[in-house]
């Protein structure tokens, strides 16, 4: 037996002070009482005056004893006297309620989460009233639903409000969080209670379990599930209008299954196929299709199972963007083959006489033409006559390109050293200009980022250059440099929430990588070409690197595949009556006894004093009548 709120010394000090105070009041109140009366003559006749020798003696010791005893009982109630040892006193428990994606699986008429909620409430009800409980929703990342609460209603409300998430359970992080909570917030460490089926992600398998772990398992029964784990879309390298759909299906059951897989684009079927997936295996299927339009592509497993959330995945295909190019030339046939080589370029040819600055295009090509008012949009100057923004220094013939600016996007992939130019102008570079290609006499391809202009000192379609691969590549690099969004390569992935891994291209610059969610940029880690980020909720995440954008449509739940076995040292199940009875609160009974003691003292002693002060009117009247007669 011990006091929860007071130490023995504190109790004795308070009790001693209160007792001394009560005794003092008692002696004062029960000492000779001064009373003003109308006359003393009848008192003098009634009894000779008596002067008490002991003025402070206690006249009603039982009354005082009852009062002090009642005060002691009330003080013990305030100090929360506990039955048992201090080790069995009120404790703080952390309740880890599994809200991972697996908890939405249906077993019979109920879901696993509903079963877990019922067991969580049963556990909370089994605890002593003084114990505090913190509800933590455990999935990919643990999140506290309450603080350390004594209010059972608040705890049960938090349990009822829990919903299955989209990520797989990371039990390692949940246990670490529970340990931290116990270390920082618990008055006395209680149990760390995990309520769930114990299906964790591979990364979330706990390396060690906390002390005082209690596991309340949720029986999964026969969960028969087959679901999509990944859906990918990749544009064909040969034809931008052709997409390859990759669908990955996993069978979580113990038997091989054949299930119909339907893939649709904008409601139109792309593929409809019965796929066979062995037990506990993952199979990948691919389907090509052609589209130029934007739309939604949907993959669906047409089968009912325990977990319908992973039977459907949706991906958004962006529209094929094009770059509008206005070409002012008097010899359009010289440039037309090079510009038509890329389907994302819409070239419009105008005579130089029709030049205007407000031409509806994103890029302007001026073929040997220098207008008085230069364009205000990105411009490619081909052998511009004087005057032009680029100052020609000299003219060379049969010049050989000896150097490419290989570290710049404008010269990406251009390494040819045997290109000979029959005739070319050599330009003087200004500050900020980029020399893309040089001959021994100087730069013949110069880019000016400040005005977003590139000048070519030669005409790519006039000589044998038009048969060389360098010509379309150089034009493509220039256009990509002007319009990077148009020529960005897209990879579309449909995956699961939680920790997502994306692989970048070999030439991706680490500084250009961005991971953008639906609301904000997401933090990520990068190791080589691998980018990892965490998406706790279903959403679309874009991973942007130089020249490529990966769209991760994380609409599928992250289904854990690893079963965790609780260690033997862990407690199991809901604590029984014997465990609950170890520590008991006595303060209610003590408070009632104390109050009853004070009431009894008043009834026995206090009421008599009050009664003595009251003269019954009937008796007085009787006397008065007698006197009057």
């Amino acid at each position: 037996m011990f006091l929860l709120n007071l130490s023995p010394l504190e109790f004795l000090a308070i009790f001693g002070a209160l007792s001394a105070f009560v005794v003092t009041l008692y002696l004062l109140s029960r000492s000779r009482k001064r009373q003003k009366v109308a006359t003393l003559r009848f008192w003098a006749q009634a009894q000779a005056p008596v002067v008490s020798k002991q003025r402070r003696r206690i006249q009603q010791p039982l009354s005082l004893l009852l009062q002090i005893l009642s005060i002691a009982l009330l003080l013990l109630a305030i100090g929360q006297l506990q039955w048992g040892t201090r080790d069995d006193a009120a404790r703080d428990h952390v309740l880890l309620l599994d809200t991972s994606s697996w908890m939405s699986a249906r077993v019979g008429n109920t879901t696993l989460l509903q079963d877990a909620k019922a067991k969580a409430k049963a556990y909370v009800e089994s605890l002593p009233a003084s114990d505090r409980v913190m509800v933590v929703r455990a999935e990919g990342l643990p999140g506290p639903a309450t603080g350390m609460e004594e209010d059972r209603r608040a705890v049960e409300t938090a349990i009822d409000d829990s919903r299955p998430g989209a990520a797989a359970l990371d039990l390692q992080q949940a246990f670490a969080f529970a340990e931290q909570v116990r270390r920082l917030h618990a008055r006395r460490a209680g149990d760390v209670v995990y309520i769930g089926p114990g299906r964790v992600s591979e990364e979330g398998l706990p390396l060690q379990t906390p002390v005082g772990l209690r596991v309340i398992p949720v029986e999964t029964g026969k969960v028969d599930n087959i679901g999509l784990t990944r859906v990918g879309l990749r544009r064909s390298d040969r034809d931008p209008e052709v997409w390859n759909v990759f669908v990955t299906v996993r069978n979580y059951g113990a038997l091989p299954r054949t299930t119909p897989l339907a893939v649709q684009f904008g409601g139109a079927p792309i593929a409809n196929k019965a796929v066979v997936v062995p037990a506990a295996k993952t199979e990948e299927f691919s389907f090509p299709f052609r589209t130029k339009a934007a739309g939604w592509i949907e993959a669906r497993l047409l089968e009912k199972d325990s977990l319908p959330e992973d039977n459907r995945a949706v991906l958004e295909i962006p529209a094929l963007k094009t770059a509008k190019v206005a070409v002012f030339t008097n010899e359009p046939e010289a440039l037309r083959p090079a510009l038509r080589a890329h389907p994302q370029i819409e070239a419009t040819f105008y005579p130089t006489a029709q030049y205007r600055t407000d031409v509806p295009a994103a890029v302007v090509i001026l073929d040997r033409f220098s207008p008085e008012a230069p364009p205000k949009i990105p411009t490619i100057w081909l052998e511009p006559p004087t005057p032009s923004p680029f100052r020609a220094r000299t003219k060379v013939t049969d010049a050989k390109i000896v150097r490419w600016r290989a570290d710049h996007d404008l010269a990406a992939g251009l390494r040819s050293q045997d290109i000979r130019v029959p005739e070319a102008q050599v330009y003087a570079t200004a500050q900020g200009d980029i020399s893309v290609a040089e001959t021994d006499a100087g730069p013949i391809v110069v880019a000016r980022p400040s005005t977003r202009a590139v000048v070519l000192g030669f005409h790519p379609g006039r000589s044998d250059l038009k048969f060389d691969l360098v010509t379309p590549l150089l034009l493509a690099n220039i256009l990509r440099w002007f319009e990077p969004d148009v020529f960005r390569l897209y990879d579309l992935h449909g995956g699961t929430s939680g920790t997502v891994t994306a692989t970048l291209d070999d030439d991706a610059e680490p500084g250009s990588v961005k991971v953008i969610g639906e609301q904000q940029q997401l933090p990520f880690t990068m190791e080589g070409r691998t980018v990892r980020f965490f998406a706790g909720a279903p959403q679309t995440v874009r991973v942007i690197s130089s020249g490529r954008e990966q769209v991760h449509s994380l609409s599928l739940p992250d289904i854990a595949v690893t079963a965790w076995e609780a260690p033997r040292s862990a407690f199991r199940g809901i604590p029984g009556a014997v465990e609950r009875a170890v520590s008991r609160d006595l303060w209610r009974y003590l408070a009632i006894l104390g109050a009853l003691g004070l009431l009894a003292e008043w009834l026995i002693y206090g009421r008599q004093r009050n009664r003595a002060r009251t003269v019954a009117p009937a008796a007085v009247e009787e006397v008065s009548m007698r006197q009057a007669s």
């Binding site: 001064r34 109308a38 009057a628």
Partner: protein, 295 residues
């Protein structure tokens, strides 16, 4: 009393209009009263004969008897004289003790008796006293003179200690005409008040002793070690009170009240004892009427 106004409701006043102050003694006086007197006077009803003396009114000579007996006999007529009513109100400090205010009760009772006298056209004199006679208020001539009496009673203050001997001396000198003397008091005087009361009665006044006590004046509720303080003198008395003491106290009080009653009856007066916790109306129409103070 200034803050504690007399509260006599209209219903009680209407009931009081049926009553009459009554005295037993025969007092000489002018006609106009209601109680018959054994003293002769200018009345209408024949009372007696007596011998004619020089100076008597010839008109009252019974000439028929003179012719028959040749003696001058005078006819005497019964008279109902107007008698002064004097109400003495104890305003000593002892009247302020007790949970039920005795002084307020005494003032209410005095106001009620005054109203009864005014209704019957009696002359009423309210006289406060403690160790000596204090202020007084003479009123008569009808009920419309009741308000000054109420104001007088409202203005009374408790002060001093009772001294009936001094009061009797002053009363005999200030009020030589005999009449009805109503003394409303707790009669708690350190000196014995019986002799002064006897002195007033010996002067021919008729006493109506209205003895008022608080419940704790007769049956003290206190027990244990008590330090009693006299409200008038401030004298302390330390006693150990128990049931026996309280019973002895009550017996002493009753004995004292009995002596007062004996005194009143011996002198031709009346005594009525009233605890202050019974209503004034009940006291008037009960004990006061039973003893004949009112009819």
């Amino acid at each position: 009393m200034a803050a504690q106004q007399l509260l006599i409701d209209q219903a009680l006043l209407e009931k009081l209009e049926r009553l009459t102050l009554h005295w037993q003694k025969s007092f000489p006086g002018l006609v106009g009263g209601r109680n018959a007197s054994r003293f002769s006077g200018p009345g209408q009803e024949f009372l007696d004969h007596r011998h004619f003396h020089q100076g008597d009114d010839y008109r009252a000579v019974n000439w028929r008897a003179f012719l028959r007996l040749e003696k001058l006999l005078l006819k005497l007529f019964q008279v109902e004289p107007r008698i002064p009513v004097r109400i003495l109100i104890d305003s000593s400090a002892s009247m302020g003790t007790g949970e039920v205010p005795k002084f307020n009760y005494a003032c209410k009772l005095a106001a009620a008796l005054t109203y009864v006298g005014l209704v019957r056209l009696d002359t009423v004199c309210l006289q406060a006293f403690s160790d000596t006679l204090a202020g007084s208020c003479n009123c008569g001539g009808g009920r419309h003179r009741f308000l000054p009496a109420v104001h007088f009673l409202n203005d009374l203050q408790l002060s001093g200690s009772s001294n009936f001997l001094q009061v009797a001396r002053q009363f005999s000198s200030n009020y030589p005409q005999r009449g009805l003397v109503v003394i409303v008091s707790d009669f708690l005087d350190e000196n014995d008040p019986e002799k002064p009361l006897q002195y007033i009665a010996d002067l021919g006044h008729e006493l109506l002793l209205v003895h008022i006590w608080a419940p704790e004046d007769r049956e003290p509720p206190w027990t244990g070690e008590l330090d009693l303080v006299d409200a008038e003198s401030g004298v302390h008395l330390e006693i150990d009170a128990n049931d026996q003491t309280r019973a002895a106290y009550t017996k002493a009080f009753d004995d004292y009240a009995k002596r007062l009653q004996t005194l009143a009856m011996r002198t031709g007066g009346r005594y009525v004892g009233l605890p202050a916790n019974i209503p004034v109306e009940e006291a008037i129409f009960g004990p006061v009427m039973r003893v004949g103070g009112l009819q």
